[in-house]
Amino acid sequence: MFDITTLTQAIVSGILMGAIYSLVSLGLTIIFGVVRIVNFAHGEFLMIGMYATYFLWARARIDPLIAILITGPLLFLIGAGIYKSLLRRVAAASDFSKIFLTVGISLVLQNIALLIFTANYWSVKTSYEKMVLSLWGISISYPRLIGFLGAVILSFLISLFLFRTDLGKAMRAVAQNREVAMLMGINPDRVYIIAVGLGSAVAGMTGTIIMPYFYVFPLVGVDFIVMCFAVAITGGLGNIKGTLLCGPIFGIAESLGILFIGADSGMIVTFLILILVLIFRPSGLLGEGRL
């Protein structure tokens, strides 16, 4: 039906996009794994990261690749601030309270953005935005390639942090058993702040690396977040490896779905995978994890 080049192109595009899905979902899974809060405002952190990138570029001509050093810490502070002022209050409450709170935060952030930035679409210009890598008839644009590499490097660094540093190990300890971790002298409250901050920072940095080929508007988070929830849940919420694996799977599934079923198939393939995984492996492909 389709020749091999077309098929390969679809798979490559899927993998490039999938790495981005993985990275957004990674932030989601860190927050859930440690703090046990499903963060419905995650897409809005992505949106804030994108706006920050836009303004750094528009006002100071800072390239998104450098802006990442600013948006990361900025979103860390915003995430940590939201945890300290709001999320901490519901840490012991029911899941419903947590969900309502994060959905509320999401709506508030969207509407603040509408108020300040209006509904217009903004994008950045970079020196490499029009460069394309062509290999055996397959085209890969530089911005997407850079975004992909950025996502891989960031995922690697975060895994390194969680598995090799004392602070990372402390986070996983709290995630796995809060009481025992406290007995070992770990302050869980501090760990929670860092986890939410880190999760938000990842979302913000993802926003930065997609900015060279995407555009920002107040509801941009919504376009991404549904897919990223599907990725995080299929991978097993709180399971880092599962999340990193499922991003590309969904990217490829989406891409091939459009090729073979039709471009209006939209999320059909995505949700079909999600439903099948939930039926046969209710806690996700690699099992629900605690980091």
Binding site: T6, S134, S139, A263, D264, S265
Partner: protein, 408 residues
């Protein structure tokens, strides 16, 4: 503290109260026209341009002496925000119709909002003039609805006619076309017109594909377009998808000439974001800022000076419609909506700012549709959206064939 706030609220309410009371009293020196566009929500971007164009038109009419048959009565706009939402539209129109002595209403470039809005205005027997394109607007047997714009089904016909003619006259002749459209009412209606006309003109449709709007990656769709081997692409999309489709086409070197179905392909942001990549892209439009009519240039220039961007199609229509209403009220010699409706049915404008729709002749048929209007084909040339076809309304020549990406 709380007492202070309460006092403030009461004072504000009182002020608002006196305002509305003052406005709802009919004064002989004013004619009231309701202006209903989405100014907030998803459709606010273009709704605001239309509202601003109405304001500009009212200023121009009043500066030119107002309604002379009513001893120079001034046009006063009652501006409402229908919030991109059907139920809000209904209640806003209801509010305007009951609270103000309106002579007429105008508004909502969004067909999905104009349809329910006119149901309300029809009940109150107040004429409504619109630039919405849905075929259904004047197809319902309503007596108080007037449509100056081309209908949705005509857009597709125009797009196909353009490639057929340019292909034959300048060459090479076109054989294979691809149609991709957003799976919304607007996308489906426009693509149907494209499909019919393509078949009729003997073009082979190698891809006919609906897609889900607001995608994060256009690569899979463009891969499919590339594989189809189409020479012409007819995409119907809103701004964000339009930008992603064009960017990805350049990356994948898909050289099909793009003939957009309006919407995203016409907006200033399209050119701002794509820069040189927007060059040579065609689209269909219901109006354009450079139409070769004497009344257009000055108005378009003043709008651009005030708002920092060129006046877009729907805003241009909004400006024109305000003059059509002024002409009708002038001839009616009365602010009474029944008489204004009567006058509108006898509208026959062949000059002046009320005639600046493509065709330069505004006259309504028995359904209320402007029977001389037709869509105009536009092309991005040197960063500007120019009218290029049909020759009667062209401001400059179409560039054809569209050069491949590496030569742009």
């Amino acid at each position: 503290m709380s007492k202070g706030i309460w006092r403030l609220i009461v004072i504000i309410l009182l002020i608002f109260g006196t305002f509305t009371v003052a406005q709802s009293q009919t004064k002989l020196d004013k004619v009231y026209i309701g202006v209903v566009y989405p100014r907030t929500g998803a459709q606010a971007r273009l709704g605001e341009t239309c509202t601003q164009a109405c304001i500009l038109a009212a200023e121009d009419i009043n500066k030119a002496g107002g309604i002379k048959s009513l001893t120079g009565a001034k046009i006063e706009l009652i501006i409402a925000d229908c919030r991109s939402d059907v139920s809000a539209t209904r209640s806003e129109v209801e509010r305007l119709c009951t609270r103000y002595k309106l002579s007429a209403l105008t508004g909502s470039y969004v067909s999905g909002l104009t349809l329910p809005a006119t149901e309300v205005s029809e009940r109150y027997r107040i004429p409504w003039i619109t630039g919405s394109v849905a075929d259904g607007i004047t197809g319902r047997g309503f007596k108080y609805v007037f449509q100056v714009s081309p209908k949705a089904s005509h857009f597709g016909h125009m797009q196909v006619a353009l490639v057929k003619e340019l292909g034959e006259k300048i060459g090479p002749p076109v054989k294979k076309v691809a149609i991709v459209y957003e799976d919304t009412a607007y996308g489906t209606a426009t693509s149907k017109g494209l499909q019919e006309k393509s078949k009729e003109m003997g073009l082979e449709i190698v891809l006919y594909e609906a897609y889900k709007g607001g995608f994060t990656d256009a690569a899979p769709l463009v891969t499919k377009i590339k594989a189809s081997g189409a020479e012409i692409l007819f995409p119907v999309s809103y701004l964000t998808d339009a930008i992603l489709i064009i960017k990805t086409m350049r990356e994948m070197k898909v050289n099909a000439a793009v003939i957009g179905g309006g919407a995203g392909y016409l907006m200033p942001e399209f050119e701002k974001d794509l820069g040189k990549d927007a060059e040579y892209i065609y689209s269909v439009a219901s109006w354009n800022w450079d139409l070769p009519y004497p009344e257009v240039a000055d108005m378009a220039q003043r709008y651009e000076k005030r708002h920092g961007e060129f006046i877009q199609e729907h805003a241009g229509e909004a400006y024109c419609m305000m003059w059509v209403l002024a002409d009708a009220i002038e001839r009616a010699g009365s602010p009474d909506p029944e008489k204004v409706r009567e006058a509108l049915t006898k509208t026959n404008l062949t000059k002046g700012p009320g005639a600046i729709m493509p065709g330069y002749h505004v006259e309504f048929d028995h359904t209320g549709w402007d029977k001389y209007v037709h869509p105009v084909m536009v092309q991005w040339q040197k960063g500007k959206l120019r009218s290029v076809w049909p020759p009667k309304v062209a401001a400059t020549k179409p560039i054809w064939p569209v050069p491949p990406w590496e030569k742009r």
